[in-house]
Symmetry: none
DNA sequence: GATGAATGAGGATTCATTCAT
DNA sequence: TATGAATGAATCCTCATTCAT
């Protein structure tokens, strides 16, 4: 008789192990052997549950994205009655705090980003993240600007978020407050425009 | 007497092959076998000239950085008599045009950036690039602002450059004019401030 | 459930294959490919069980030494009630018979001895063998002589054993009886001294 | 016009470099690249003068043997008017001092000995050394003993020499005086026999 | 005579995956 | 469900040798 509910236990366990492994040993160093050892299971389990390493990587990235947007939407919800500036900053805060609460996630994102260029499955996921973040920002700025202008601003803010996160990943940690202040400043300037 | 002047021929040839290989097959797919085949030489030659794969990768990244700053400084030179805005935009233009003139370079940069997190030699090079770009921007903004303020603005512009380049790499090519316009706008806003 | 008890089968199997390979192809010729082919398994299995070629070599040498001292101690046990001469000759017999029972072992020992000079792990093992044989002889000669004298004689006998074994390995096999007789003679002479 | 007399310069130079290289890096570490670098010439030179690495190794071993017997014969010559004991000890002294005056030679001999088992050319040379040393001893002991007895004693002394040299090579240096004393003792005992 | 460039064959090792249990 | 044994393909790298100069 098979144990029931094992997938629900094993899958998150392996995804968590993958993130930890990538952080510790880098993307190339995160082999199935390392990951499975970290999860305390046999390497064969990965094939069993994810059909192979690529499946595990895809699931891991999907999980990161899901988690990210959950944080983002809950932040947005808290500012549902706020003004446009407060809403924009909620998105910025969510995007940047992400890497603070779980610093190891930074390296993992970076690895996925690089891999995305050559693995279609990851590429699709990366696009989803990228567009969805942009879209959230566009929605906010549409409260004040016409569509094209809103897209421009959203694009700029999204690039600032990614750029600061990228530079922060290199520096070994982001100074979140400073990063947020810079984006804050840009948004203020834009909103003050006639 | 052996053939002379071969290093000067082989080294750039292998560096070029490395860039092409990373672009085409990704960082992990750029094996010595692939690279040497692309260069039309034996894999052993890589050890002969660079002491190993890591040496070749480091030389390649160094070459990209050198090339980048050559473009940047020549752009800056052209605006040596211009105002602060023109100088800043020269830097932005150089940073972004980089990816237009040689599109395959984008993926290579991306791969290096991800690898830099786990290979000390590449990490150091990435820091050099990162700091030097920042420093160029700071110098420009010091013409108008006090030190701390100049650093803030420079940091923001640098993040915008990297972020747009990152998003562009995903989109399969940057819309350079659009990206430059967005940064242009930010700089204009900042300079217009009292 | 995986197959159980495989380590107990594979490890001796690979060690045996290593001895055969070194005998047949020499130390440098005993590649993992040759050894694993001889054992009828994949080269990767060596890493699986011994962590690499060096681990296998070390285990092989350890196995030879263990086997040697087992023979030696069982020979010594048979003469536990005998006189000093009988005990000394038991050690000599054990040392020399070793190479008779398994001629291929001679070349393997030789290979290890040469390698021991440059591989610390093997060097340590060789010292263990060397000292332990000496120590066994010292114990025997202490029955008659004072410590320093016992050490001198033991050292001489040990050197004779190794030297005859070395010359025998070159000649393509030791004339055991002849070798034993020569050492026998020396011991007799020494014991007859006032 | 070719430089004349180069072989006479290059050959000893490369042989010396080979001995140094084997001592420093071990037999497997003494690659043509290492040797030629040590000699300050191009690797291709080795093929030029010795037809390949094996030729160089053979020449090196031949050189060691030649040197050894030169020392031995000059020691013997000094005792040409001495008694049998003095002559025997002259041979012993020569055999053992060899390794003291040039300690690096020990590792080289050891490497050759191990290689001799699988390389016919070296095997032949090793036999020459082995037999010639034995033969010198036999000649000495024939002054007193009949042929068979002389051979027995010579064989024992030769084995003691090799054994002590072997144990000494492991210990990291021979205590020459101690080794000579032990052999001295054996010879005295044998000569004192009725 | 002498060089360094260049190579092909072969070295150990790693890895994702499969399989019998 | 879960395992560890087992593998084949592919990794980088080393080495003795050859070749054009």
């Amino acid at each position: 008789m098979p144990k029931v509910g094992m997938p629900e236990i094993r899958k998150p366990q392996l995804i968590e192990a993958t993130i930890t492994a990538i952080d510790k040993h880098g993307f190339p160093g995160a082999t199935v052997s390392v990951i499975s050892k970290k999860a305390g299971v046999s390497p064969a389990i990965i094939n069993h549950y994810f059909g192979g390493k690529d499946g595990l990587l895809e699931a891991t990235m999907r999980s990161l994205i899901k988690e990210f947007f959950e944080v983002l939407h809950s932040e947005l919800y808290l500012t549902r009655d706020g003004d446009i500036f407060e809403k924009a900053m909620a998105i910025v805060r969510a995007s940047i705090s992400q890497s603070q609460t779980r610093p190891q996630v930074v390296k993992t994102w970076m690895g996925f980003w690089a891999s995305a260029m050559h693995k279609p499955a990851l590429y699709r996921l990366q696009k989803v993240y990228s567009r969805r973040l942009l879209s959230c920002l566009v929605v906010v700025f549409r409260e004040r600007f016409e569509k094209e202008r809103a897209r421009e601003i959203a694009f700029t803010v999204a690039a600032m978020i990614d750029g600061m996160w990228l530079r922060g990943s290199l520096a070994g940690g982001i100074d979140n407050q400073h990063a947020a202040d810079r984006i804050n400043e840009y948004i203020s300037l834009v909103l003050k425009q006639p």
